[in-house]
């Protein structure tokens, strides 16, 4: 495989918190509108007056994969997305516990783990976002995540100052 893989790049400054990304994702998963089944979730950062959607950014270490006792999580060769193979998943939930980002989900209906699979290289959330706050581009996710993390941290630190 030669072509570079793409990743979901989030721009919190553009996000309005509209949840169209959640609606699009749940539509892909269920054919209905059901944000509780979305694999991308919009978070509100009060300290920063900012919103940001987050989902699996297909990290290299992939603790979900390492934790799975039956090898039900595999790497999709074209996109490098980590995907759950439904037939193999036994629904033990270890991956949900293992993921440090909280982006592994568990569906009580089918009793299997669920995660973002990049919609086979054409993510629906990217199309749905009205402000281009989610882009599907060649980029290093570590870059934007740490930059945003620092900004939020600074906000938190500031918010701790002041009087009781």
């Amino acid at each position: 495989m030669t072509s570079a893989t793409r990743t979901l790049q989030i721009h919190p400054d553009r996000c309005t918190g509209c949840k169209q990304c959640e609606l699009a994702c749940s539509w892909v998963q269920t054919g209905t509108f059901q944000p509780s089944r979305s694999l991308i979730r919009v978070h509100v950062f009060d300290e920063e007056a900012s919103f940001a959607p987050y989902t699996c950014f297909q990290c290299d270490e992939a603790w979900c994969m390492q934790a799975c006792p039956v090898n039900a999580i595999d790497v999709e060769p074209d996109t490098q997305a980590k995907v759950v193979i439904d037939d193999v998943c036994v629904g033990c939930g270890l991956c949900v516990i293992a993921c440090p980002f909280g982006t592994m989900f568990f569906d009580r209906g089918s009793h299997t783990a669920e995660k973002c699979d990049l919609c086979a290289d054409d993510p629906a959330c990217v199309h749905a976002c009205p402000t281009a706050a989610i882009e599907y581009v060649e980029a290093d996710p570590v870059g934007w995540i740490s930059a945003f993390g620092e900004k939020v941290d600074a906000g938190r630190r500031d918010s701790l100052k002041g009087e009781l």
Binding site: A49, A128, P130
Partner: protein
């Protein structure tokens, strides 16, 4: 049942704590389209129009539409329908945010709340599990703290809460119901009805789905709708750029910005409280309601100069020192109408209104009327408890708090400006219709708006017939704002379309970019019923007539379809619209004719039969 609907309504009898599920009537769902429409149908069936609004015999209905919770842009809305204590009419008060869709995801289209609880309670809806919980410990608390505590008690940070503040508990005639801390079903006193029932809040968490009839059709229709919104200047630039406050400079320049209780029509401080100024000095970010691709909401902070002077107590969980708003209406009522040009102070007062659960339009307008009475010498420092000249921000803040608690002079303010004017022997200071105060457009300067105010079913309101769109803002065709010609038909058409939009679960602001041509395919694909634009407009007309008939049973007559003398007889004193008065008398007969009503404003039997109401 039609898709788009969950098909279930929740009926709660607060008197005895009974909670029941019921199938939604499908024929009503189809004919009244949803939201405002179906709720009006249930209310008219179940509640005597002559009921005392604050008696247990009044019901309060929370209703979503078929598009609430879908990915149609702006599918966020719910409607509160009840008899309003400010107007003694059927009121229909609409709100966005996240609460309405959550109710759908929990599995309910409507909530019907009846009776009166013997003690303060809140309703907790978690999918199928529904219970009334004690709210003794929340009684007296503001909206922000109530929402935070209820979330904590339910155990989920994503529980959505709609609640009243102290104003609703104290039966302030214009208390609001506030969801997601900053979104409100604001007008006509729906919050007082909730308070009269000892119902503090409704918390919802829903994990279910909204299903649609024609998935492919819906996807196509929503792309078309969203695309159209990106092409229209107001929905792609004006509203996202400046929020509703974009209007401040536009309306002021036209000479239609009511100032100092409608004594002038231009405000010298308009620039200071405009959307442009907010963006330059205070805006943090835009905020969207659920599924909205316009995102007109404002998250704002007080300016650097204002720091320290105004603290916004929005609870630690809210934007640190920032707040939401203000909207154009609130910046006008708390600003220009009171002669105040300090945007930081307006932010503070607006935030207080959210926390105390007050409608800022009626509050600001009532204080403005009191300011006029003070300057006329009818009210003195002794009665008010402080000086109350136009422009006094200190008084505005102090009286906002006193109104919510009905303390001192606040007790009279809590009745609204009609009852206050009557009590003080000066009914002429009331600037409104059917007991409800005007919003931020001088009806002398924009003739269609005046007709819309006079004939609105819930008292003066800009959202029932926003004819200024066509008269001034270039959306649609009409004679200019100074002309009464054609305004009867225009107002009736605007009312029908707006009512239909209110029924779908979408936001009226859509109509700056799309019309029923774009909305009907969404409704058809979601529900499976082949709605056409004409059928939706007819549903709007049906709902409007139903509300009218009920209001007439409540005692409204054609004599109530009027404007204050100041609007009819006193010309605007200066500015570009100098000399204009409202030409209501010329427009009203055209309006009744366009409606197919008799000359004295009664819907004719033929009309009612044609609408399936006779």
């Amino acid at each position: 049942m039609l898709k788009g609907w969950t098909g279930t309504l929740l009926r709660v009898d607060l008197t005895n704590g009974n909670i029941e599920r019921e199938a939604v009537r499908e024929d009503w769902a189809r004919d009244f389209a949803g939201g405002r429409g179906i709720a009006a149908r249930y209310l008219s069936e179940e509640v005597d129009a002559r009921v005392d609004p604050l008696a247990p015999a009044n019901s309060i209905i929370f209703a979503t539409g078929p598009l609430t919770g879908t990915n149609s842009s702006t599918g966020a809305r719910y409607m509160v329908v009840t008899k309003g204590p400010l107007t003694n009419c059927m009121t229909t008060s609409n709100s966005g945010g996240l609460w309405g869709p959550e109710l759908k995801f929990a599995g309910y289209d409507l909530l019907i709340l009846e009776g009166r609880s013997p003690a303060p309670v809140y309703l907790w809806i978690h999918d199928e599990a529904v219970e009334l919980r004690s709210a003794e410990h929340l009684w007296g608390k503001g909206v922000f703290e109530t929402e935070d505590r209820v979330k904590e008690e339910t155990g989920f940070p994503d529980t959505r809460v709609t609640t009243i503040g102290p104003a609703g508990e104290n039966l302030v005639k214009y208390a609001a119901i506030v969801n997601d801390k900053f979104r409100a079903a604001g007008r006509s006193g729906v919050g007082a009805v909730m308070g009269s029932k000892n119902l503090k809040a409704i918390a919802v968490r829903g994990t279910g789905a909204v299903e649609v009839a024609d998935p492919a059709g819906l996807m196509q229709a929503q792309w078309a709708q969203k695309h159209a919104l990106t092409q229209a200047p107001l929905t792609s630039e004006g509203l996202p750029g400046y929020g509703t406050l974009a209007l401040m400079n536009v309306v002021n320049e036209h000479g239609a910005l009511p100032t100092r209780n409608f004594q002038q029509a231009q405000f010298e401080g308009a620039e200071e409280i405009s959307g442009e100024r907010l963006v330059e000095t205070r805006l943090q970010t835009n905020k969207a309601c659920f599924a909205c691709t316009i995102a007109c909401g404002r998250v704002s902070k007080v300016s650097e100069e204002g720091q320290g002077r105004y603290t916004l107590n929005t609870s630690p969980r809210n934007w640190r020192e920032a707040t939401e708003g203000p909207e154009y209406e609130n910046a006008w009522s708390l600003g220009a109408d009171c002669g105040i040009d300090d945007l930081d102070l307006i932010l503070k007062a607006n935030t207080l209104c959210n926390d105390l659960g007050l409608d800022p339009i009626t509050l600001g307008a009532t204080i403005a009327a009191a300011m006029e009475l003070y300057e006329d010498g009818v009210l003195t420092d002794k009665e008010v408890g402080m000086p109350l000249p136009f422009g006094s921000g200190e008084a505005l803040i102090a009286l906002t708090e006193k109104t919510a608690s009905r303390e001192g002079f606040g007790d009279l303010l809590a009745e609204g400006s009609k009852r206050m004017g009557d009590a003080l022997g000066r009914p002429d200071v009331f600037m409104g219709v059917k007991g409800q105060e005007f919003p931020a457009y001088d009806p002398r300067a924009i003739q269609g708006m005046g007709l819309g105010y006079a004939t609105s079913n819930r008292g003066a309101c800009h959202l029932r017939a926003y004819t200024i769109s066509a008269e001034m803002l270039g959306v649609g065709d009409a004679e200019g704002p100074e002309s009464p010609v054609g305004k009867g038909e225009l107002a009736a058409a605007f009312q029908n379309v707006s009512t239909a939009v209110d029924a779908t679960g979408l936001c009226l602001f859509l109509t700056f970019g799309v019309g029923l041509d774009e909305i009907a395919p969404l409704m058809a694909a979601a529900t499976g019923h082949p709605y056409t634009p004409a059928e939706l407009e007819l549903a709007g007309e049906r709902i409007w007539n139903l509300e009218r008939v009920w209001n007439m049973q409540a005692g409204i007559t054609a004599a109530d379809d009027t404007l204050p003398k100041r609007m009819l007889e006193q010309p605007i004193p200066a500015g570009p619209t100098k000399g204009q008065t409202s030409r209501l008398a010329e427009m009203l007969p055209d309006y009744y004719a366009a409606r197919g009503w008799s000359e004295d404003g009664h819907p004719s039997q033929e009309k009612l039969r044609a609408l399936g109401l006779g």
